[in-house]
Amino acid sequence: MSNSTKYADLKLVCYHCGEDIINEDIIEQDKHFCCHGCKTVYDIINKNDLCDYYSINQNPGINQKVKVREGKFDFLEDEKILESVLHFKDSHQYHVVLYLPQMHCSSCIWILENLGRLEKGIIKSQVNFLKKEITIVYETQNTSLKSIAETLASIGYEPHFSLNDMKGKKAKNYDTSQIIKIGVAGFCFGNIMMLSFPEYFANSEFESDVLKKYFSYWNLALSLPVFFYSASEFFISGYKGLKQRFLNIDAPIALAILMAFVRSVYEIVTNTGAGYLDSMSGIVFFMLVGRYFQNRTYQTISFDRDFKSYFPLGVSVIEQNGKEKQISVADLKVGDRIKIHHNEIIPADAILFLGKATIDYSFVTGESLPINKSIGEIIYAGGKQTAGAIELEVVKDVSQSYLTQLWNNDAFKEERQKEKNSFVHYISQYFTYILFAIATVAAIYWAFNDSSKIWNAVTAILIIACPCALLLGATFTNGNMIRILNKYKMYVKNASIIEKIAKIDTIVFDKTGTITEQGKSTITFQGYQLDKEQEQLIRTLASQSNHPLSKAIVSHLPFYKTFPVKDFKELKGLGTTAIIQQLEIKLGSAEYVLGQLVQPQHQGAKVFVSIDGECLGYFSVKHAYRKGLENIIQQLKGKYNLNILSGDNASEMPYLHGVFGDKTEMRFEQKPEDKLQFIKLLQEKQHHVLMMGDGLNDAGALKQSEVGIAINDNNNNFSPACDVILSGQSFHLLNYLLEYCSKQKTIIYSAFVLSLIYNVIGLYYAVQGELEPVIAAILMPISSVSIVLLTTGLSAYYELKIKRSDKSQIRT
């Protein structure tokens, strides 16, 4: 303790994890540690000569105050579970991919890739940092997955196993064929262009006819992979569209590519010209790049998590003879007696049988304060036990639980009526009709004047006027917008969502965790006035405990000085006590501190305080609303219908009324099912609904709404299935971000107008039947590049508004 006074102006941080050292300062070899856990990890790393871990980054470790329970990975010994987790196996080598959510810096990569030095039998370990995954190859004679998992946990990287892993091999989330198609098209485009240069500049005095032919046939050979391989998706999609009697944008593009190819082959074979193979392969290349840019997926973000990603893989079942056995959660039956340890998630609705249950439903509802349950009460699946081990009896199957049955709803079953077609397709339809009209008129004109030019004119019109510039405009606009939204931590699932956001007229907010901040609360003290000395006594005690309420109290009280702590005791689910400065301090529930039950009131949680047996009052902990909430609502009020759905009681209603005004409909005590129904009801009234939620209980509503936005405060990826993930830090920009999305149409229209200009120039030559390949070869790249520049410029221009408001909000 003397250290805290010695370094009066220095803040001590843990050598391992970088957290402030508040209580005891553990010193070894001149290094300070905040807890024994961190020191143990240091010892392991030091013993194995892996101290480079600490020199790559400062304090790279993961805080070890919360220990991983022994035997937590026993379920990995079960053959069936092991089988489902492994990626690949042969006689003596197993390959496994583990998800390590704790991975955060380059030191992590280093130590994880040197895992073989810690655990014999690991042949290779390779990290994918963005996905937070590690691929491990190990020998079965020397080690087991259980022991690997334990080793990882011992140095702070506890692997996360969820029921989702049971499905076995995960689908590859990146498509190599798309990249190869672009590569092939780009390669052929460049070479055809090069081989066409003599043709462009030589006019009629081409060196020799043989040479000309030689170049043409090379071009033809190079165009084959473009036509048959790279461009195949346009033909397939165009054909599919026609089969469903919908003329999508790919159909006229496929027609233009086909026309260009056929005419070029004809010209080359009959030796009448050089064809348009350069323009054709160029445009295929640009369009493929545009599509790729628009559809790039974010490896780090998952948009389709369901309850399976939250639930554990294995669970301990207590058999008749009293022995514990590990089984897969999927095999859990009604009537099974299960044991849930500290910090484990309850996999199925169950009745509490033994132990003290304090359930943290923050995954499920966003509610950060744990709820106490007593024996005989039903505990819903999805909650996390935070007060030691309990025993439960399962009353419902995993898939029939209160929470999980939501996924049996129709909203999840039907593939959600075919994605609505983008307005781009409708523009392209008009475009195509006009194009056909022009081609017909030109054909008729030439039929009367010079019938030899019909073929030339019609094919040239169809080639030059394909809506590829429109497609380019749309894909690059979407790609740019997604990229910029990303910058403001708004992650959009795909481009069609941006268009949907523009149509929204109703916004539904969830309350807890969405408009209130997750894990943050306002604290007020009711009772006697506390003096400085008392405040520090309470703070010292609270800082010993890991309970969320204690943490909230620590951050509420100002730091002044710490005292030595004696006889610290934490009774899980009740409270904590210790002797500090010869005074017995108690913090906890009314039952614990006062020794009597107080009628529970629905006003958030209360923590009672007593010093030396005298109760001084209580801390009342309430949710804190997000910063700038009132501002945001003011901005949104005029534009959208606002609604609030809350799983909570109506205690906050007066405040919300003040902020949202009278027009807002508020519903409290809503079950997940009710939320979904409410959205449906709005949709039946022809509203376009945007749902904002955060927890699994909003999952149904998020799915049912046109656009579901999940708010995420920490970056650990745990957000339910949705269309958009918005970081809590960007909540204050909500209005501007939505406005930005509505600019998408403007940008695409501008690109469309620009492309029309090029089309008119091209058509001018085409209708005369005199489209020289060189004109096409100049127009195509110019129009493509200028459209890319225009869309990039416009999306950056509209971004300025978000940027400005972001800055001004930070200043205020």
């Binding site: 941080v13 480079d52 190599t176 190869i180 590569g183 020799s208 030689y214 090379w218």
Partner: protein, 67 residues
């Protein structure tokens, strides 16, 4: 002039070699993770034996100034 027939054929063959190399690199998942290798390349391969060396490096990182 006849050299050009051979040269163009040869240059294209060479270029196709690069295309094949590109396709191979995509297929062998070299583009799957475009971040980790950039960090990995900076790690040193040596196995540190001298512990005193480490100590002096790390001592100063242990304390952070309040300001």
């Amino acid at each position: 002039m006849s050299a050009i027939y051979v040269m163009i054929g040869a240059s294209l063959l060479l270029a196709i070699g690069f295309l094949v190399a590109f396709i191979w690199s995509v297929k062998s998942n070299q583009y799957e993770d475009d971040y980790t290798p950039s960090v990995r390349i900076l790690f040193e391969n040596k196995i540190p034996k001298s512990k005193e060396n480490n100590k002096t490096n790390n001592n100063q990182t242990n304390q952070k100034n309040l300001n």
